[in-house]
Symmetry: C2
């Protein structure tokens, strides 16, 4: 049952995007599936990478930024300068993500607040109709 590499239609279906989107990401250097002749073959590695791209997109990062981040992850630089540069980039990314986390948590807290008020108003209405 372990079928090997998958087609573009299959991975697009899996992630709920169109094949056009997947090909666009390839144009932008975000994924680079193997080619058997003219056809694209998506190995698990490519599929995972595509998942990371889509997560980055959900986080609101631009595709170019996502590409830089993923390339950063992939590097095995081995040189001290590269490593310290990488660490600096990590600091930036973390600051960005920390901001996003604060935003999400604030928004969720307010959502809770609205929901509480909403339920309170509903039960008040129910009580009033019960009284009427």
């Amino acid at each position: 049952m372990a079928r090997g590499p998958r087609t573009i239609a299959e991975v697009a279906e899996q992630f709920g995007v169109t094949h056009r989107t997947v090909r666009y990401y390839e144009d932008q250097g975000l994924v680079s599936p193997e080619r058997r002749g003219t056809q694209r073959l998506y190995h698990p590695r490519d599929t995972v990478r595509l998942g990371l791209v889509l997560r980055g997109r959900r986080l609101g990062f631009a595709l170019e930024e996502i590409r830089r981040i993923l390339d950063m992850y992939d590097q095995q630089p081995g040189e001290a300068g590269q490593l310290t540069y990488l660490l600096a980039q990590i600091v930036d990314r973390r600051a960005d993500l920390d901001q996003r986390r604060r935003d999400v948590e604030d928004a969720l807290a307010e959502l809770d607040d609205v929901e509480r008020r909403c339920r309170r108003d509903l039960s008040a209405l129910a009580a009033a109709s019960g009284d009427g």
Copy 2:
């Protein structure tokens, strides 16, 4: 020192966006500052609202979606149907935000991972140069 309503340039400056952006948000119905003649006056209420819009933007929501969410917050419907509809919308928003929070936390975890490997490699390099 409590200066009253502020000008568009001031709020734009405060939030680090251009006046063009603020006016565009007004076109889209996201904010609606008072008008003294032709000039816009931003009261604290408008300023807070603009802050919420920008947070929504950081979260990757489309402006149209942000407008719906903020309008949802503002409503005092009083009617049961409106309230249950509002609750349903809240469920959707929460699912969306929960997904985003998972994304952020996963990304932060991977960032930590990369950083650890990076520091390990750096100290390995330092040790090697110390030996050499």
